[in-house]
Symmetry: D2
Subunit: 329 residues, 4 copies
């Protein structure tokens, strides 16, 4: 638990924003899956900043495969992938280290760890650590093949057409939230374990570990609260589980029903904005003003889709391995 998740397919994440490296351990992965460094390029690039609305910090995100892969295949031993931190500018953080940024983890990290936390760049609370998650996701996606997991930005600031909005918000030095939708297709019937390891439980557990996520809904989601059963219920139309509608988001009783898994995630605006904000001085408890510099995303939702995909693939990989027992007798 805590920095490890999973029952059989287990992912462990380490590292801080400005530490030496971010690393991920993938344990419980079966032997014989072909893995090449090139396989990581696409997803790592999707997570990378550099687009409008994302931070100017650019890491080359080269995946050093330290163990668990040999002659181009997984070996069954734990896989360690490491990403060095290079484009690090910690000075900005020394300036503000006593002034917690509103809605950031600065305050809680300081208090929980009695000031021993690595505060630079948010330390272990930084979105930077998700680079390891994306790498684990690449392997998980291979494991769950032929299931396909695809996540996209659905809206930013409530708009589906959001390019101008982002430019405007960036110019103000402000930030903006958004919604990401994820769809998994080719899903077999029977993934998910009652009572506490339902598909929704596992996916939501992982997705809420992504910094900035504040909500998740499956299928009809919050709209279901306004629906009658006769509207909401998905009518079975074949013996493989296909249904006429998909208000359940592909999951009944916590178990996949053979239809697409569909869910949406709410991502809050980046906490760090380039405007002076009131706060308190951690050392004295006095009122203070914090005016962060540095490099930050205007809209983290833009970078979240590939991370949501990775988390979902990790969830499904674990559930797939757990479901092998269902065919024993």
């Amino acid at each position: 638990m805590t920095n490890t998740f999973g029952s059989i397919f287990r992912v462990t994440i380490t590292g801080e924003s400005h530490g030496k490296s971010i690393a991920v351990v993938i344990d419980g992965c079966p032997a014989g899956i072909p893995v090449d460094k090139e396989d990581f390029v696409n997803d790592l690039n999707r997570r990378k900043p550099g687009k409008a609305g994302t931070t100017k910090r650019v890491e080359d995100d080269y995946p050093f495969i330290e163990s668990g892969i040999f002659n181009g295949y997984t070996t069954g031993a734990p896989i360690l992938i490491r990403f060095e931190n290079r484009d690090v500018k910690s000075k900005h953080y020394d300036d503000i280290k006593d002034y917690p940024r509103p809605s950031h983890a600065d305050f809680v990290a300081y208090r929980k760890y009695k000031g021993f936390n690595d505060y630079r760049g948010g330390g272990h609370f930084s979105g930077r650590v998700t680079v390891g998650i994306v790498a684990a996701g690449v392997i998980a996606k291979k494991l769950i093949n032929p299931i396909k997991v695809e996540a996209k930005v659905k809206s930013i600031g409530g708009k589906k057409d959001y390019a101008d909005l982002i430019a405007e918000v960036a110019k103000e030095g402000d930030s903006i939230g958004g919604i990401v939708e994820c769809i998994c297709s080719n899903v077999p019937v029977g993934l998910g374990e009652p009572f506490f390891y339902s598909v929704e439980s596992v996916i939501s557990h992982l997705v809420f570990s992504i910094p900035g996520v504040k909500g998740i809904e499956f299928g009809a989601g919050f709209r279901c609260a306004e629906m009658k059963g006769s509207e909401f219920n998905d009518i079975l139309i074949d013996s493989e589980g296909k249904t006429l509608t998909n208000n359940a988001g592909g999951i009944n009783g916590g178990i996949t029903n053979g239809n697409d898994i569909v869910f949406r995630v709410a991502v809050r605006p980046t906490a760090t904005i380039f405007k002076p904000q009131e706060t308190i001085d951690l050392k004295t408890g006095e009122k203070a003003t914090v005016f962060p510099k540095g490099r930050h995303d205007t809209c983290i939702a833009l970078r979240v889709p590939v991370i949501v995909e990775a988390m979902t693939a990790i969830a499904l990989a674990d559930l797939k391995l757990l479901s092998l027992k269902d065919n024993l007798f």
Copy 2:
């Protein structure tokens, strides 16, 4: 995992709707907490049906304490609490066992377990098993004292004033969804463990184990996707972490910040409705019609608040015990 959840404070749930009993094991509970049978009455009654809009099946829900409590106190040994199933009418289920009810777990349970599942009353997928969760919640609430956890129905079918709506829906033989809101007060700073055991991760994991939940949002929730950082950010106003607003729902970076934890849960309409619905015959794969009889809730959201409270208290109990290590050095 699966039917056990927790790192230190661990809850294991067993039982089926029409089996002999539902039981819950609470392990990792410290010794010395006063527990009396009377302590369970209030929460068990809140979960019980009998109100308008709830099922006519009435169990007395007497908590047989089998172990772990001695002379009125927890002993440190695992606590087993058992609820006998008595008001069981399985006949209705024999009639429909080959005809999976739309949006119910019938189909997935049959397929996942190759027909070996106990189909009566939904078996282990029944809301009936949440009686054990409520009992575990009673003990968890004592453990997290002075934190208070309170959940309430916020709306049914989109309405805050919903009594007439429920009567009407019941008359139609239909069902209706709703929203439950939960607020935790007196929360200390520092509960929650990065990266994978964030407060949102743990609460959502548990809450999505409750049958019928399809969405969860913390603080401003999905609204945050339309907000700018300058609107969303909660300004710190004292050195104990109090903020001017609470858009974060009391959690930053996955860790409690000392403000109230606030979240809302979307509960879908009951799957079983008293109307003929199309389905398929599990044995032949042919089209069929299912017209369930039996006793079912018109609106399960009405019974969910005390279950959400229990799950939240279980989450916070585990996080509290995990946080003890933070004061060692």
Copy 3:
């Protein structure tokens, strides 16, 4: 952990010697295994006292199957089996509750749980709780079929022919230790998971949970410390892994090699003896004498074989389910 063990096949144990009942939850068990109450009789009888050298407390050990089994088969849902405690005489324990018996858990239980522990009959530390383990073992044995697990008393008090010795020791009011040997046959190659879930790790973990076990050795065991590699090494004689000797006890690198798993367990003499022994008064710290009455085994090793078998079957069941992933690619 603590009262739950296992990765996929997970066993949870509850109960105290003089509480209402002992219970065991078996979770993660695949659906479709035939289970009948009669299946438990033989192993439960083997654990039962009543033979020379065993306690006079006799429970009928009727296994109440509360959940997880339906129409004679496992359902995939958690199995709860409960044993009521009936032949309970707690008075003897009230007399000695302030006087911890030497080498018993009385003292540590009192201190660890600040006196809140159920002291009667040793409470949760009693060998009585192993009745649940035996029940779990019955199911685990079915799951690992065709592997056979057989444990026997190898010696008591250093003697292979020990009947007279036991009678003599019983007459003295004393107790005596012994050695139990366990052999598993028909074991496939490839069970066991490096690094921390080696076959020896999992078996020893479980076996040391049996009250009274103080040592375990696999294959040549402690004798290997006096051997040269050229003597110890087991020569492979076929491509299925069969070896000329079995000094490794069927395990290399923590993984089964296709030969019999062989190990021996050292069981200490029963702590409770019918002789006055010096101790201290828990309340005052003063010297005292404890002279236990009640009913106790002269030699617990006599009852341990079926418990060792159960623990071994539980270990192998979990390892078997974990190894399913090895055949995916």
Copy 4:
């Protein structure tokens, strides 16, 4: 599980003998423990070969601290320590890769992982991975302070004075087993969790993960099987738990009793010897001869003490953090 162990203080190990690096993740470690690179030198040197009887492969074993330590203290975030493999000679392994060495993991690894395993130097099954364990042990020892853990070679080949024996065995190209004894002092009363997380369970679980261990015994150990209760029982002589004798090895009912924890470990002779041995060809199943070259220990028991200490400290660190809950009420 598998490559992660622990409930709160969790250790994850990765790497292969001839891969890029060995690494260890220590998660759940409280913030505020001073850690300096110098702290690792002594224990890493004790594990290093170079003494008579140990392999000629010499790594500098420099601990790259990648995360979790900042300004000389643990931060509360996961600690990743990495050791690069440099003195790697894989050629010898290409020569013998189809000829499994008797009593080595070669055969089982090949079969379990369908030939995808990294066979070079034993891959993930190599004693090389214990370098990470030693590093984790250094931190665990700080966490359990003032408990002291000390392990020593007790005998080699049955002799307490073994220097000449080792020289002789080395000259023959053979190998030899030994016994290591571990003593923990300053142990508080109350570590250990019934039923499945007894002190013996946790220590033995970890110790059997060390390559080459075939037996463990606590206190009087196997001798207890020949003792009467009146001889074995340890008489309490003060209210802190001190006993006249220590046949229980400091543990009753799976819980520390305040006396020294004492146990002994049997280490088999190194599997690889410089003599021709019969085996089978993995590819053809035909009989073959394997005559390994390379660099190997004559007696691995000589290097095991510091690894046993590390494993014991890891066990006690986890048990110490688990026991914090015992003081809540």
